[in-house]
Symmetry: C2
Subunit: 237 residues, 2 copies
């Protein structure tokens, strides 16, 4: 199989010296890539600027990704040619539009003016005690995947923080439907450490629990293979 994995976090620039970063080490994405490679699959890894990546391998292509726009553009090139997508990257939901002094915003009659403003300075500087940053929603990357290649086997990820297991499963189920994903790996930041990583692999007909990053990686490889074989048997009938 040919597998596209996204990993690490995106960075959305505020100006040329600072940006909003989604925290993610890329450790899980790296491991998933390695487990696919061991089984002789071909891997394209789209990795955040600071993400950990596997050692060089003949079947591995690594491409560094900055922000959401860059991720979407790069994905579009590869999506038509892959069988599986494991979208584990922590993608920014919002991207900066404009930053200005608090006083400027406070005295504005209509703050929608700032939604179409842009900073001229390459490094925004200010003497004000407070600043205000306006942000807009980024395009939903996971939602675009099946619109580009409907045959791909899609694994999405949902990371929540300190929620009940039922809520985690509910959010994952909604994401399955909304994004036409085949599987959602749901996890909670409070149950992730260097050693342990609780994950629930949610599909339309099952929920499978994994307890470590290695469990999660191997489960994703196994489910990819199983689904790929089912699809190809069915198509050959």
């Amino acid at each position: 199989m040919r597998v596209l994995i996204t990993s690490g976090g995106t960075t959305e620039n505020i100006d040329s010296v600072r940006g909003i970063t989604n925290f993610a080490t890329g450790r899980l994405g790296k491991l998933i890539a390695e487990r696919f490679l061991i089984q002789n699959h071909e891997v394209i890894l789209l990795a955040g600027l600071q993400a950990l990546v596997p050692d060089n391998h003949d079947n591995l292509t690594i491409i560094r990704i900055s922000g959401v726009a860059n991720l979407l553009e790069t994905m579009q090139n590869y999506l038509p040619t892959v069988d599986v997508v494991v979208h584990s990257m922590a993608v920014s939901d919002y991207t900066p539009i404009y930053m200005t002094d608090f006083e400027t915003v406070a005295k504005s009659d209509d703050i929608t003016e700032f939604l179409s403003a842009s900073n001229e300075e390459k490094k925004i500087s200010s003497h004000s005690d407070y600043q205000v940053l306006f942000l807009k929603k980024t395009p939903k990357v996971i939602k675009s995947i099946k619109t580009i290649n409907q045959n791909v086997i899609l694994f999405g990820f949902k990371l929540l923080v300190d929620v009940p297991k039922e809520h985690l499963i509910q959010v994952a189920s909604t994401s399955l439907t909304q994004n036409k994903a085949d599987f959602i790996l749901a996890n909670d930041l409070t149950t992730i450490t260097a050693e342990r990583h609780l994950g629930l692999l949610v599909s339309q007909n099952a929920i499978i629990e994994a307890k470590t990053k290695l469990d999660i990686a191997d489960l994703i490889v196994a489910k990819s293979k199983e689904t790929y074989d089912q699809n190809h048997t069915r198509r050959n009938w």
Copy 2:
């Protein structure tokens, strides 16, 4: 000599999964540390979470720094015991207070209410097309250094983006006075590449040009030693 070096960039959290990062590789700070170590000086390196750092060395202590508050606290522990401070870290000028939907801000009668608000959620989520992030000024780290140890030899850094050389020198001179620094290394992002790194080492009575990271590092080591020797000769009279 005992030398404190700060390097890389700070990260100010928005919530538990994202933050504002100052871009900085830590490459120059790493090199400055290495050049001091080669001359048998003792180095304490306060490095951003993603910053490059030197290999282990008997005379080197590395401490990872997250945000500005963490930097200030860690600095205060070491400042009384060091002879030289090279403050090359890219420090965030502002830190997040509160993030909310654009609509909530637009309909507020008095937006100062958001300056004392705080997000309850550990991961801020929203369905709004636009969000607004309120930020407040961080304490000025460089200004606090001489107030804690007035005998330290202080190197500050000023990074600007695409400005005339005269402006760079003027900003560096102002910083010298305001922060009681002994030297300011002034540089411009547009004249920094992997190979070249134009820098101006500005002091009250001289401006010295450097063309590479190695030039800059060696100049800082040489000027530290020279100033240290002058101070100690003077004190022993």
